[in-house]
Amino acid sequence: MPPHDPTKPGDWKDLPKDQVARFDAALAPVLQRYPPDKKEAAMIPALRIGQEIFGHAGTAVQQLCAERLGTSPARAEEVATFYVMFHTHPTGKHLLEICTNVSCCLAGADRMFEQLKRRLGVENGGTTKDGRITLREVECLGSCGTAPAVLVDEKVMEERVSPQKLETILGGLQ
């Protein structure tokens, strides 16, 4: 989100106009899903759209969502900070999330997580120096029968991840 320092509180009016237009266009059909007087129900979808378009769900994006849904920025902030899939600060270009819950660890996820941390030179939640990858340990991803599981960019679920497969995944994150 170039012209605006995303780590500082900001005003949604400073957000790039074309991106705001894209946000509104994406939000419109989603609003149809909720009763007309319950627009606030679209808070999670709105923040998700905002995060996708603006790169993260920081203060300005929270304000934009609150404004469009007719609620207070505090409500937007409370939602943005409660759910682990919302990022109030910029993350790396890619997000690599590895499940370390019981079934995955029984399939070697703990060792893989340790290797990953060393390989990328980061701790849990850290971003590589080149800004390419943010690594996170997450809870059960609902893939326990095909463990270990890794979620890439919150979109692609990689299952039965072996150390070799992990190399391929890392190679794909350019």
Binding site: K38, A42, C144, G145
Partner: protein, 440 residues
């Protein structure tokens, strides 16, 4: 025991997820039949079927439906596709393989209960499954199955997908509704129960994905036939998801009262390592653990309750004797500490305490009496909180400490983890996973 497949019959067929394939196999025939039945008659069949909730608590579905107050409208349906209890991975396969079966179940339920708006709340980490649902919904709308009319009948029904954003607590029914209303997922005090005061303050039925996916079969074959697949007060089959140290992890559809030992030793081929089974978590990470010598039990809700545990969400986690129970419990307590919403003091403060004490013992810094202290902490959380996460966090602690006291005592006596680096045991891989009878 019967081999009837209620839920997985179509899994693995080519394009099983499409409307065309579903219809070719008689799909939406049950909805058609339901639309010609009196609405209370449908509820009656579900009562007779002895269908019990597959989300965790095993509450009788038909009975829950009768809790709706007679004269308040609108009413809503929430479909729980949050699937976040560690060890649970079944609803996603229903959605991937047979989404129309779920939609048909939703449509019948809404018709029976005079509900015109339903939401499927699906966890944020399931983007592919959310898209599969959207696709199926689009097909059903296009074909005139749902929408302004329900298969031509004057009954409008809208069903929407609502994606969560990463919070285990949103699987708890009242937190789910808060989340759906656009707030953080704080569970509500009960009573009032959702059937009376639910989404936007209106009467709301909430059911798990697997629960509702059974409804078309019940309408088609009758409640009595479904009841006959099970035993006692539990009808039908269930999807058991087995993971951990077994040769063939995966999803197995079995009668509700299937034997746990048989499931592990025969269907899943026993442990992959060939070593003895040390411990089994029988119904998701919150269910009390069983020792390897205690697994010869029926998984039926009431029978397994008598054995001191629960079949909860049907997620079975198997551990062989190379695994350190303190390590496992540390990870489980960490999960609940991470996922506590923070509203009640015993849960907010107690879960991280249990986690840190567990970690302390695991790393060899425990002192005599610590295991009892852990028990004491757990006893002061469960039962004293707004929602059942408090109990969910306490039950593993109570059972692990009682059943594997030796593991705890050895850590304390030896000032180290006796399993050392290999605390997670001989590593398994899941290349042989079997999902509903198919090789995954």
């Amino acid at each position: 025991m019967s081999d009837v497949k209620v839920l997985t019959a179509r899994w693995g067929k080519k394009d099983s997820h499409t409307l065309a394939s579903y219809k070719a196999d008689g799909g939406y025939g049950a909805l058609e039949k339901a639309l010609s039945m009196p609405q209370p008659g449908i509820v009656e069949e579900v009562k007779i079927s002895n269908l019990r909730g597959r989300g965790g608590a095993g509450f009788a579905t038909g009975l829950k439906w009768t809790f709706l107050p007679k004269d308040i409208r609108p009413r809503y349906l929430c479909v729980n596709a949050d699937e976040s209890e560690p060890g649970t991975f079944k609803d996603r396969y229903i959605i991937e393989n047979d989404p129309h079966m779920l939609l048909e179940g939703i449509a019948i339920t809404c018709y029976a209960l005079d509900i015109h708006l339903a939401y499927i709340y699906i966890r944020g980490e399931f983007p592919k499954q959310a898209a599969a649902l959207e696709q199926a919904l689009a097909e059903a709308r296009e074909a005139g199955i749902i929408g302004k009319k329900l298969m031509g009948k004057d009954f409008d029904l809208e069903v929407h997908v609502h994606r969560g954003a990463g919070a285990y607590i949103c699987g708890e029914e009242s937190a789910l509704m808060e989340s759906l209303e656009g707030k953080k997922g704080y569970p509500r005090l009960k009573p009032p129960f959702p059937a009376v005061v639910g989404l936007w303050g209106k009467p709301t039925i909430i059911n798990n994905v697997e629960t509702l996916a059974n409804v078309p079969w019940i309408v088609k074959h009758g409640g009595a036939a479904f009841a006959a697949l099970g035993t006692g007060k539990s009808g039908g089959t269930r999807l058991f998801g087995v993971s951990g140290n077994v040769k063939r992890p995966g999803i197995y559809e079995k009668p509700v009262h299937y034997n746990l030992k048989k499931l592990i030793m025969e269907d899943c081929g026993g442990t992959a390592s060939g070593r003895p089974v040390k411990a089994v978590i029988p119904g998701g990470s919150s269910s009390p653990v069983l020792r390897g010598d205690e697994i010869d039990v029926s998984l039926e809700f009431d029978a397994i309750k008598a054995a001191g545990t629960m079949s909860g969400s049907g997620g079975v986690i198997v551990m062989d004797d190379s695994v350190c129970m303190v390590r496992v419990l540390s990870r489980v307590t960490k999960f609940y500490a991470e996922e506590s919403c923070g509203q009640c003091t015993p849960c907010r403060e107690g879960t991280p305490w249990m986690e840190s004490l567990c970690e302390k013992i695991e790393h060899g810094h425990g002192v005599p009496g610590d295991a009892d202290k852990l028990l004491d902490m757990a006893n002061h959380i469960g039962g004293f909180t707004i929602c059942a996460l408090g109990d969910a966090a306490s039950m593993p602690v109570q059972s692990f400490v009682k059943k594997f006291k030796d593991d705890f005592e050895r850590h304390i006596a030896e000032h180290r983890c006796p399993f050392g680096e290999g605390a997670w045991g001989v590593s398994q891989d899941s290349r042989e996973a079997v999902i509903g009878g198919m090789r995954a």
